[in-house]
Structure formats: structure tokens, C-alpha cells
Symmetry: C2
């Protein structure tokens, strides 16, 4: 299965999968497509709907399996909303963070890392070794601010 036209995001995913000896299945590429063509983060259900629209009946378990795997591979980033909901956004492995609109769940990247230059001394003094971090900004996007 190799489409004539393939966007950079799909090629990227295909490449990462191949490197790991994983298969570039129709379903996996559809998940990439659905995610990267959305300017908002999507819930598992929304991704499932999007994939079904492209491919017809598709198992929900496949979506779960794909998202978990993509997260490990850095192909998607999981976001957390104040209301407890979760969303997924496409990612190309780069170190980026997101700001999310709490109204429409739109996602906006920001490549600068606010934590990068942070001095961990005070926390490492407590014997803690920092390995990773999660940063997410909340707010309102321009459209939602207007609408309000």
C-alpha cells in the first residue's frame, strides 16, 4: 500500500515505522492523516471517526494500539485538558510544546522550551534526577476569544 501522493507527515511516519521494523498499515497512515490535517487536538473517538470516514469500518482497538505506539515513537503527543479529557496531536519527534485552546481544543505549537534553561539545582538537591518534562499552556485562541 503506497499512495501516489503522500505528504511529508505520512512519509515521516512511514520512515519511523520502517526503521523500527514496524509495518506501515493503511490504518496507521490514516491515523497520521487524520491527525495532521486537524488543527485541533483529537480524542480517541474523533480519530476513530476520522479513520472510519477514510477507510470504512475500522476496529477501535487498532486506534488505541496505534496511538500508544505512536506516542512511544514520538509521532503523536498526548495532551491533557483541565476537564480531564485527553487529546492527541501530530508530532514529528521534535521537541515542541503546545498551547491548547480550552474552548475548541485547538493546538498551537511553540518550539521554544520554557524549561530548557531552568535551573534544576533546587530539585536535584533533593536527590531527584530530572529526565523529562511535560509543559502545556492553556488559554483561548483568537477565534474563540472573538466568539466569546
Amino acid at each position: 500500500m503506497m499512495k501516489d501522493f503522500e505528504c511529508t507527515q505520512e512519509s515521516y511516519a512511514r520512515e519511523v515505522l520502517r526503521e523500527k521494523g514496524l509495518k506501515s498499515t493503511t490504518q496507521r497512515l490514516a491515523v497520521v492523516h487524520v491527525l495532521h490535517t486537524s488543527r485541533k487536538s483529537l480524542s480517541v473517538g474523533e480519530i476513530h471517526d476520522g479513520v472510519k470516514e477514510m477507510l470504512g469500518a475500522t476496529g477501535l482497538a487498532t486506534i488505541y494500539r496505534t496511538l500508544e505506539m505512536f506516542e512511544d515513537l514520538g509521532i503523536v503527543k498526548r495532551l491533557h485538558f483541565p476537564d480531564g479529557g485527553r487529546g492527541y496531536a501530530f508530532s514529528q519527534g521534535e521537541h515542541v510544546h503546545h498551547m491548547v485552546c480550552v474552548d475548541c481544543r485547538g493546538v498551537f505549537d511553540f518550539p521554544e522550551c520554557p524549561v530548557e534553561s531552568f535551573d534544576y539545582a533546587s530539585v536535584e538537591k533533593q536527590g531527584f534526577r530530572v529526565k523529562d518534562h511535560f509543559v502545556q499552556l492553556f488559554g483561548q485562541c483568537g477565534k474563540c476569544a472573538e466568539a466569546a
Copy 2:
């Protein structure tokens, strides 16, 4: 219901609840107790267990209701783990962030805010208005590093 001995955390919760016209029930104070006496973040189930140990049979729904309410009141902070799990940590409304040990789920506060001095210009240029943020550091605590 007013205990003879009450720690500052419990008084704090009691005060916040009173200010909002909410009742300081035995169950709610037990949730506070269980959380603030734990040096690790706790899952809903663990909190439920802790409360049952203090009070005997207690409805799980009450724990959920309490945690949701406490989150709104700033009495607890919800944490997110890489494996998808969630944990809750006691909080006194202050602006703190947490580093969490991915092995034992221990929580360590750090009062410095890495995002505070961050220049939002690049993101606000996109029409986005930043209102809040979530920062969490991951790593290994001293004990778990030794054990490993």
C-alpha cells in the same frame, strides 16, 4: 465533626470549604488527610483505600466527587504519568509544580515556576491568549535511583 487535633492542611481545607459554603464532611477531610500524609501521589483507588482504612466503607463516587471539587478549589493537583495513569497530590492553592518519580510516583514540589518568565510573544502573535499552564518534571527519585 471537629477533631481535637487538626493539622494545618486540614484546617486549610476546612477554611476553603467554609468560604465557599461547602460542608467539611468526614469523608472530605479524610481525603485531605490521606493525601497530605502521603509523599507519593495517589490514584483514585489508593485514595479510596486510604479513606476506607480511616472511616470504613466509603462510596467510591464520593471520592471522585471530592477530588473533582478539590481540584477546582486548588486543594489537589492532578498529575499525569507517561503510562497514562493519573495521580493526585495535596496542594494549598500556591503556585507550585511537581516533579514525579516515574518508578514510585513520589512527588516533590518545586516552587520556582519555569514558565513564569517565559516570553509568550511568539505564541501570542498567533492570536492566542495564555491563561494558565501545566508543568511537570519526570525522573527518578534518589531512592529509586539507588534501587535500580
